[in-house]
Symmetry: C2
Subunit: 212 residues, 2 copies
């Protein structure tokens, strides 16, 4: 039961807390204070306490936070025990990398299908799943009811595919395409990963640093 509604800035920090707590747990550390955690993470202790308090009082005065419990709580807040059914659209290098390298099961998802529009790749097995041709998308969706789609397709293909998927009942997009979803579908959750944008931002940082 959330106390206040958490802002997106807070939510975006939760995975990082989760990651650090996993690590502490692996090292058999049982308790930690906001101060110690802040040192490890490069944040202020105040921010940590404030962030966590958006969701409830997980700590105890004079003691700190129980690592395992806090780890678990944050997992619950993020919804990592969900099993949202996901499909990947686009089995190019990126789609393949996502399919093979992400631990979907630990992050609230279950990968149930991979699609591509090129005949040449359909049938290929990736991580135990066959690449299907997009022509079978409609049938697959009505049979398997996937919740979300992961778009690893070129920019030009994105609007049309997204439109189709929304029509087939897709309720969220993890979008790697070079196209801004979320402008059109305001009520559907979209998480964009614009690698090109990230690379350009990186370029700016490198340039700035080299000028000093």
């Amino acid at each position: 039961m959330p106390k206040h509604d958490a802002s997106m800035s807070v939510v975006k920090r939760l995975p990082r807390y989760y990651r650090f707590l996993s690590d502490l747990k692996d090292n058999n550390i049982v308790r930690i204070s906001s101060r110690e955690l802040s040192d490890k993470m490069g944040l202020t202790a105040s921010q940590i306490r404030q962030d966590l308090n958006c969701f409830g009082g997980f700590g105890q005065q004079g003691y700190g936070y129980n690592v395992a419990q806090l780890h678990n709580e944050i997992g619950m807040i993020l919804g990592l025990s969900s099993k949202f059914k996901a499909i990947i659209i686009g089995a190019g290098n990126l789609g393949k990398a996502i399919a093979t390298q992400m631990s979907f099961e630990k992050r609230g998802f279950s990968l149930i299908g991979i699609f591509d529009n090129k005949e040449s790749v359909t049938g290929q097995m990736i991580n135990g799943l066959p690449v299907r041709h997009v022509s079978g998308l409609e049938e697959f969706c009505s049979e398997n009811r996937p919740d979300v789609a992961i778009l690893c397709i070129p920019r030009d293909a994105a609007p049309k595919v997204a439109e189709q998927l929304v029509g087939l009942g897709i309720k969220g997009f993890w979008n790697f395409s070079h196209y801004d979803l979320g402008l059109k579908y305001k009520d559907i959750p979209v998480e964009n990963v614009h690698l090109s944008d990230s690379l350009m931002t990186f370029c700016y940082k490198v340039k700035e640093a080299s000028e000093k």
Copy 2:
């Protein structure tokens, strides 16, 4: 010549402006007002004017902005005509995807080498470059002086590799490893792409939306 120093929030929006301006240019649109652009991008016109003004007055009252000129200016600010020499460490699925799908040349970089620690993949050609064994990293660096490294390696390998690369003169990291660089190297530019974190944030959004 920057007027004020731009904050990171502003800089992070520049690639997106750049992207939309590219598109306008492709469609032969010559001028645009902050109002029209704000409609297209889903921002306030005020924010656009404020953002652009961090770097100088590119617009003209009563007219708006010249698309081609503004596009060019933002490219300059980002430093996209730089040719920072980049190497990729890790030729797994992700490293391969990055190597083949990113337009480095258009984003201020030039990819000059790909490395992996597995003998089995060395020698393989990716996008015209041979995968080299990491044992040759030192020699390669002293010969070719790469500026930045792109880390597509597992979490555990990251700290050590980063340390070595800093020693070899690397001046920036585009980091895909599940590890927080930038805590240790405060003066070296780091751009993190934590896909797992993004997936968890996405999970939260989907969960929230499904509860309404």
